[in-house]
Structures are given as structure tokens and as C-alpha cells.
């Protein structure tokens, strides 16, 4: 087979923090059972906001994970990245020899970096008129702090990069990390994404775009309804998803349990509009991912959609899938897990890829939660509300960011 000639990429460890809880199992349990992590905002009083709901990480106490001195230098998004990294490293049973650390790197996506720290410091500065700013502000706010903290935590001295491509940031991070392994520039990459944007200023900015779902009076947890006729928008979330990627040779030599093959990656840009999604470029990203993976469209059984729950995204993504898959689109099991873990920005793609890997391993297509009625503009199989047993040979995860920056990851069952 052709794909065995190039360096293949193995996925050997997973770590997650999301609105569904701390840990990969919490993510899967919520996703598979359509149990929503969307609630009234608890981290600050949202009474002044139109949008009073978000997908916040529940039961997370920073002091349980970090000592005081470490926390001084960690914005919440970097904390979540580190918690997920620890889980992923443990899961992969990865203990690198000193010499291997130069060949191991980091790629972390984040849309907003240390947004909470920035919001809080600027509130003091502009709101309270306190002009003194703590010197640790920049090390906490900078977008590359998660990548740096992960490299320091794990002692990895290979390439360490941060990706800032908004809602596709962790898809680009994972995809580019895999490319580094294929190119022989690294043997191991810790890749994924983290974001913690639930700050009053950030929520206001999102509100202004008029894409946020209002909370239904009866049940706020059902606010995000991707692909459903009555969908009203997205819900902002937070979290971190981290994967351990290795060259196939590295993974097999050390006897690692390979969870799936990261077989393909496609990245394209619409080059059209700063927010409105296109069709041609996302479809081409899917085609590129399948081509690199040596997959025929008909080999794909499951799609984890970008599925934000906005009017425009979900109907456009439906057209994208029809364009990329042709007649096979009707046979795909498609779901958006954002209905339950929210749109965790730069963490979304990694969380969704992790959900896709678990779906493949367990032979279960997770559902699209809160689906009430079909929309004529969204007429594919979105696995409404209830998980479905499904052998998954290959799957893709879509991420289409503002700015028309698209990234698609393809995985294959091993």
C-alpha cells in the first residue's frame, strides 16, 4: 500500500478538559449520552449580558492541579492545556529518554490565549483606574504560553509552536504537528489546543456579532442545536484537548498502544470573507485530507462536523459535505458534539478529534444533541439525539474558522 512508504503518524495518547468535566472519559460520557455542559455562567455574574450561558469547565479547582507559585504564571487556558497534557502523557505511557527530548515537540492552538488575564488586567486599568500592572501579565497573556508551559512541563526541546487560527487552531496544530513527524523533523509531538475565553469582555464581543444562541427559558442546556431547523446560534465554551502523536516507527519500537492513525490533513483558505463561510475551499480541504490518507470518500463512515449551530455554518457545511463526498454524503453519519461541549474556540478541534477517535475505537457514532426538527437546508444524517452503534473504518473532523481558514483531519482505524 502506498501510504506505508511515507512516515505514518500514530496517535498514542489523549487528554481532555471540557464543559463535560476533567478527563477524556468525562468528555466521552457527555458526548455519547448527549449530556450538555452548557449552563448559566458561573465564573462571573452575567446579569448585565444578553448571553448568560456558556460551556464552562465544571468542578475545576486550580489548586488541585498546581501549586501557588506555578499558578502565578498560568492563565486558565495554559492551566487547562497542562492538565490535558498530563493526562495524554500518562495515557501514552510516554517516558522519553534524555536524547529523545530534542526530537519531541509541541504544537498548541489557541484563539485567544490568556484572554481572562487580559480582560481582568484591563478592567483594573481602564475600569478601576489602577495603573499598576503585575509583571507576570505578559507571560500569562501571550498566546504561546501554553506551548511554552507544555514544553517546559514535559521537557521537550524540539520545535514548539502556537497556532492562532481561531476556531480551527487546534486542527492546524495537530495537522502541522503530523506534517513535522512525516517530514522527519520530530518523532513525537504533543499537539492540541486550549482556550478559556469566558470573560465579560470577550462574551460581549461575541454577543455583538449576533451569532450567540439565547438560552431557552425552560432549559438553558439545550441552547445549541446544530443542524436542527430551530437552531439559533453557538455557545461559547472553554477547555483543552491534547494528543500524543508519534512516528509509527517510534510508537511501535517502544510498544505503545496505537489508538488510531492520523492519516490525512487538509488545510485551505476561502480567500473570500472574514466571517462568512465558503463552500469550495472547505470541500477542497476535505479532499486533500482524504488524498493524503489514501482514502476514497466511500471509505469514510463518520464525520465530526464543525457544526457550530449558527444558521449559516450548518447549512453551508451540509453543502460542503455534499460537494466533497458526492452521493456518499447521504450515507455518512455526521454529528456536531458542540451541542454539549460548546464552541471551545482553539480547543474545539482537538476535543472533537478526541471524540472522533473514541467513536472509532468504541464503534459508536456520537449524536447531535438537542435536535428537534429537520431543516430543508440541512438534509443529511446528523445522528439526532441518540448515539448509534457504527463500525468506523475512517473518519474526518472538520474545523472551519472565521477568516475562511479551514482544516480537516482524517483518521483511520488500525
Amino acid at each position: 500500500m502506498r501510504h506505508e512508504a511515507a512516515r505514518r503518524v500514530a496517535i498514542t495518547g489523549l487528554g481532555a478538559v471540557s464543559a463535560l468535566g476533567v478527563g477524556v472519559e468525562a468528555l466521552w460520557t457527555g458526548v455519547a449520552n448527549a449530556r450538555s455542559g452548557v449552563r448559566r455562567i458561573a465564573s462571573f455574574d452575567p446579569a448585565d449580558l444578553l448571553t448568560q450561558i456558556a460551556a464552562e469547565v465544571p468542578d475545576y479547582d486550580p489548586a488541585q492541579h498546581f501549586d501557588e507559585a506555578a499558578l502565578d504564571l498560568l492563565d486558565r487556558f495554559a492551566q487547562l492545556a497542562l492538565v490535558a497534557t498530563r493526562e495524554a502523557l500518562q495515557h501514552a505511557r510516554l517516558a522519553l529518554a534524555e536524547a529523545d527530548r530534542d526530537r519531541a515537540g509541541v504544537a498548541i492552538g489557541s484563539a485567544m490565549g490568556g484572554a481572562l488575564t487580559q480582560d481582568e488586567r484591563y478592567e483594573r486599568l481602564y475600569g478601576q483606574r489602577i495603573s499598576r500592572i503585575h509583571p507576570f501579565s505578559i507571560p500569562r497573556i501571550m498566546n504561546n504560553s501554553a506551548a511554552a508551559q507544555v514544553s517546559m512541563h514535559a521537557g521537550l526541546r524540539g520545535p514548539a509552536l502556537s497556532f492562532a487560527t481561531a476556531c480551527a487552531a487546534s486542527a492546524h496544530a495537530v495537522g502541522e504537528a503530523a506534517e513535522m513527524i512525516r517530514a522527519g523533523r520530530a518523532d513525537v509531538m504533543i499537539a492540541g489546543g486550549a482556550d478559556a475565553p469566558i470573560a465579560p469582555g470577550v462574551v460581549r464581543c461575541w454577543e455583538a456579532m449576533r451569532v450567540m444562541a439565547p438560552a431557552p427559558c425552560d432549559d438553558p442546556s439545550r441552547a445549541c442545536r446544530p443542524f436542527s431547523r430551530d437552531r439559533l446560534g453557538m455557545v461559547l465554551g472553554e477547555g483543552a484537548g491534547i494528543l500524543v502523536l508519534e512516528s509509527w516507527e517510534h510508537a511501535t519500537r517502544r510498544g505503545a498502544a496505537i489508538l488510531a492513525e492520523l492519516a490525512g490533513y487538509g488545510a485551505t483558505a476561502d480567500a473570500e470573507h472574514i466571517t462568512q463561510p465558503g463552500v469550495h475551499a472547505p470541500a477542497r480541504a476535505i479532499a486533500l485530507a482524504l488524498e493524503q490518507a489514501h482514502l476514497d470518500p466511500s471509505d469514510v463512515d463518520y464525520v465530526n462536523a464543525h457544526g457550530t449551530g449558527t444558521r449559516l455554518n450548518d447549512s453551508t457545511e451540509t453543502t460542503v459535505l455534499k460537494t466533497a463526498f458526492g452521493a456518499h454524503a447521504a450515507k455518512l453519519a455526521i454529528s456536531s458534539t458542540k451541542a454539549v461541549h460548546g464552541h471551545a474556540m482553539g480547543a474545539s478541534a482537538a476535543l472533537e478529534l478526541i471524540a472522533t477517535i473514541l467513536a472509532m475505537q468504541r464503534g459508536i457514532a456520537p449524536p447531535t444533541a438537542h435536535y428537534t426538527a429537520p431543516d430543508p437546508a440541512c438534509d443529511l444524517d446528523y445522528v439526532p439525539n441518540v448515539a448509534r452503534p457504527l463500525p468506523i473504518r475512517a473518519a474526518i473532523s472538520n474545523s472551519f474558522a472565521f477568516g475562511g481558514l479551514n482544516a480537516v483531519l482524517a483518521i483511520r482505524h488500525i
Binding site: A69, D72, R132, H134, P135, F136, P139
Partner: protein
């Protein structure tokens, strides 16, 4: 206790709390190097000192401080130059 010694005691308390050390193990001769205070820690220390003594430590002065005694001397100087400061309590 006289005011000068009080500044030293307060600086030692701040440093001891930051570094989780016994204040008795720190004297005015103790160096930043011995305390494991790197450039970032030093910036953090200046932030706390400025707040505590209601002073502004110029960058040049901050960069020349390498021992507890130098910090204490710097504070005394700035406090003396600024009657509104709260260096003595």
C-alpha cells in the same frame, strides 16, 4: 523598633513568603542568587515592594539591586524622597 530596621524586616518577610523560606535564614547580605530570585522574580518583588511602600522604583534602580540590603537601601532612599509613602508603619 526603629523605622529603618522595620523596612528590612518587611522586605525579608516579603522575600521569605515568596520563596517559602524561614525569615530567620535571610539577612541583608543575602543575594538574589542565593534566594533563587531570577529576573522575573525580581520584577515580581519590585511590584510587591512598590505596592507596600507606595513608591515607584525606577528600572535602573531595580536592575542594580542584587541583595536584600540593596533593596532595603533603595526603598529607604525612595521613601525619604517621597513624604507621601507608607514606608514606616
Amino acid at each position: 523598633m526603629n523605622a529603618a530596621n522595620d523596612v528590612e524586616r518587611q522586605v525579608i518577610e516579603i522575600v521569605a513568603a515568596k520563596k517559602k523560606m524561614d525569615p530567620a535564614s535571610i539577612t541583608s547580605a543575602t543575594t538574589f542568587e542565593e534566594l533563587g530570585i531570577d529576573s522575573l522574580d525580581a520584577a515580581d518583588l519590585m511590584f510587591v515592594v512598590e505596592e507596600k511602600f507606595k513608591i515607584l522604583v525606577p528600572d535602573e534602580a531595580a536592575q542594580s539591586m542584587r541583595t536584600v540590603g540593596q533593596v532595603v537601601a533603595g526603598i529607604r532612599q525612595l521613601v525619604a524622597a517621597n513624604p507621601g509613602s507608607a514606608g514606616v508603619n
